[in-house]
């Protein structure tokens, strides 16, 4: 009885998280220190120190420009991310479940996996014009093949044993999908979502710069780059890294932990 109850709970020690946090803080502090020393030695306006960059972040936040840019970019990230996850999952599942589709489209998948992001972006703007949807589509196309590959792996590994169990006990297609099939795909979905976010936000910045959009973090960095304003480039980059880390830790990691909570 007590053994079973122990098995049911099982919590990680709380200080493990604290320990990880202190390691991260120590390593970041070291990085800031190296940065300070380097900028002091260099004495160049091309390498401003952490204080200067932090001041710029505060200044941009006060004028409101930071928030407007962050919001514009985050919206593009969200739209492109959602589109890539949906379309990529659909393609991956179809290929994982249907051997003929898999054989036929495999070559396409390899082609798109190896197509440089720059080529996809350039062609999108040439063919579709400088619109908002072009930006989102260009980013999504860059990510779709990765999602498709991971979801195909998940679909290929669906358990026939559990399918048979569901069939014998007559669970019906809806219960089978909800409780048998989707939970098997969830870890693959979560993994591709996490790697997807990291890829998508980087490409969104490139698209914003190359596509001549008048808003967004990518636009700000592009403008700063034209006047070699390294301080501003770093200010916006750091602000966006912080935002993405918040999304990662408050949304994606808890989601993944919840999906995997049954694992030993």
């Amino acid at each position: 009885m007590s053994r079973a109850a122990d098995l049911a709970s099982d919590r990680r020690p709380a200080n493990q998280g604290l320990q990880r946090l202190s390691w991260a803080l120590a390593s970041l502090a070291t990085l800031v220190l190296i940065w300070t020393v380097a900028s002091t030695v260099a004495q160049s306006r091309h390498l401003p120190g952490p204080g200067t960059v932090f001041g710029l972040v505060v200044y941009e936040a006060q004028t409101g420009a930071l928030w407007i840019s962050l919001a514009a970019t985050l919206l593009r990230v969200a739209a492109a991310f959602t589109a890539a996850m949906l379309i990529g999952s659909a393609i991956g599942l179809a290929m994982g479940r249907n051997p003929t589709a898999d054989k036929f489209f495999d070559a396409w998948l390899i082609l798109f996996l190896n197509l440089p992001a720059l080529v996809i972006i350039a062609l999108s703007y040439v063919w579709l014009g400088p619109y908002e949807t072009t930006a989102i589509l260009a980013v999504a196309i860059n990510k779709i093949p990765n999602v498709a590959v991971q979801m195909r792996e998940g679909a290929r590994n669906l358990s026939r044993d559990l399918d048979e169990m569901a069939a014998v006990y007559k669970l019906g297609w809806l219960k089978t999908l909800q409780h048998v099939t989707l939970p098997q795909l969830a870890p693959f979905f979560a993994a591709s979502a996490r790697s997807g976010l990291a890829l998508v936000w980087k490409i969104v910045l490139v698209v914003e710069a190359l596509g001549g959009h008048a808003t967004g973090v990518g636009h700000k960095i592009y403008v700063a780059f034209q006047s070699f304003d390294v301080g501003m480039i770093l200010a916006y980059a750091l602000a966006f890294i912080v935002v993405i880390q918040i999304v990662e830790h408050t949304l994606l990691q808890p989601l993944q932990a919840r999906l995997n909570r049954w694992k030993r």
Partner: protein, 263 residues
């Protein structure tokens, strides 16, 4: 008070009528097609505990999959006594949903209307899983997982309960405790059981009837389209009439084993 006694012809109707004319595996990777089952005709009486035994590869599990409706690629027919017969299958591996707790794994096979009626806590305590209802299966031992699978098999109150070597890869005491558990549950909820095993002692320990599958060996000059196949059919059919006490006595089991399988 004879009202509840059904007419003789209905009482005699089998719970399952198995008529497998032939089950042939298609050719795979250079191996020719081969017939694994031929002319397997069996009437399974209601509430009997029928053990299907035979050497490995003789098609026991295949027969069970055919009865379960998981394998429809065969010649012949399976007819159930009740038109909407409820089936349970306790598989060789527990086949639990690892992302569901013990209780959820049992509940999920119940039709939505039956969930409240089924007394799951009582069932769990009877299979020795009280206190583990909110554990995830992967944190349990294999023996405990098997108990969950047994509870799941019984909770739907099946008309037909299929079991495919459900106690393999357990140590002897654990396996024997589970055999006792299955017998107890079967006495409490009488149902028709089809149980596959190659373990002769297990067969006589559980069965009210033992069916042995077997056939001409591939090495015995078999040629033509069946080279390599066993073409199993029923080679022996015994009733076992041991009492519950006798089933726990090694002496009785051994004597029965000799009677059914030979020395």
């Amino acid at each position: 008070m004879n009202v509840h006694t059904p007419p003789a012809d209905i009482a005699a109707a089998p719970a399952v009528r198995i008529a497998v004319a032939a089950k042939t595996w298609p050719p795979v990777a250079g191996r020719p097609a081969h017939t694994v089952l031929r002319a397997v005709n069996l009437d399974i009486a209601p509430r009997s505990f029928v053990v299907v035994s035979g050497p490995s590869g003789c098609g026991k599990s295949t027969l069970l999959n055919i009865v379960a409706g998981l394998d429809r690629d065969y010649n012949g027919s399976i007819a159930f006594g009740a038109a909407d017969a409820r089936l349970s299958f306790i598989f060789q591996s527990p086949r639990l949903l690892p992302w569901k707790t013990v209780q959820e794994n049992i509940e999920i096979v119940l039709p939505d209307g039956d969930r409240r009626r089924a007394n799951i806590p009582e069932l769990l305590s009877r299979v020795g899983l009280s206190g583990a209802q909110s554990a995830f299966p992967e944190r349990l031992s294999l023996g405990m997982q098997r108990r969950v699978a047994i509870a799941r098999g019984f909770v739907v109150e099946p008309d037909i309960l299929l079991m495919d070597e459900p106690f393999v890869s357990l140590d002897d005491p654990t396996a024997d405790a589970l055999r006792t558990l299955v017998l107890e549950l079967w006495h409490r909820h009488p149902t028709t059981v089809l149980f596959v095993t190659h373990d002769r002692r297990e067969a006589v320990r559980l069965a009210t009837r033992i069916i042995r599958l077997g056939g001409p060996d591939a090495t015995a000059g078999d040629t033509g389209d069946n080279a390599g196949g066993r073409r199993s059919s029923v080679v022996a059919d015994h009733n076992v009439t041991l009492s519950l006490d006798e089933r726990c006595s090694a002496e009785h089991l051994l004597a029965e084993q000799v009677r059914v399988f030979g020395a």
